[in-house]
Symmetry: C2
Subunit: 100 residues, 2 copies
DNA sequence: AAATCGATTCGAGACTTATCGAAATATGAT
DNA sequence: ATCATATTTCGATAAGTCTCGAATCGATTT
């Protein structure tokens, strides 16, 4: 993976609110395997004390870094984690993987 | 670990040049176990095409995020990776570890 | 069709950051 | 002591970011 792309991923996680947003999505994503219910953005908004416009902006950045994918269902938005990418980044961070 | 602290770590890695700097330090740090020679900042400066003042600033940010530790030997600066922290962050990223 | 609700877009304000050149510091070499 | 080298500090500029409120869009409900 290119350094620029990796940096972009880290940048997406570099804002406290956006990171918390990502972690909540990741948690819900993880839990969905057992519970079956998915991660609705609406539910997250109540947890973080930032406005909806900001959340929307943050989600777009996470998606733009390929950390998550989004899917619109009716008027709701559902988020999923791109597990493959996250695993790859984790390996680069710990240098288990050659950077190329 | 606090979300704020984790975000700070990611922020430290969110700039392409600084990320490359970190990766070079990590590589040299890794190699030092076999070769015995350590990571001198001077050698890195030539690889990245940014000035010395900027490098100095970036190193301070990496150290400030606890990603690396620095040690002055004579007029040279040596950097080591804080492996423990990196491992922890990597686990948080992949959600192997509860966030608390 | 009107109202409601979730999400998005837009424009703006306050704040932070990356980078540089010049100058300063400090250590080691001549 | 003088000089060269490695790093740091300072001041400045240009660019980017976070967040908000207001307005808008789209889908569902009444």
């Amino acid at each position: 993976m290119e350094t620029k792309k990796i940096a972009k991923i880290f940048k997406a996680l570099s804002n406290p609110n956006r990171l918390e947003l990502y972690l909540k999505i990741a948690e819900a994503h993880e839990a969905s395997f057992k519970s079956g219910c998915e991660c609705f953005v609406t539910d997250i908004i109540d947890c973080l004390n930032i406005g909806a416009p900001t959340i929307s902006h943050h989600i777009k950045e996470l998606a733009n870094a390929d950390l998550i994918t989004t899917e619109k269902r009716g008027k709701f938005l559902i988020c999923k984690v791109n597990e493959h990418l996250v695993a790859e980044v984790s390996e680069i961070l710990t240098l288990k993987h050659p950077t190329e």
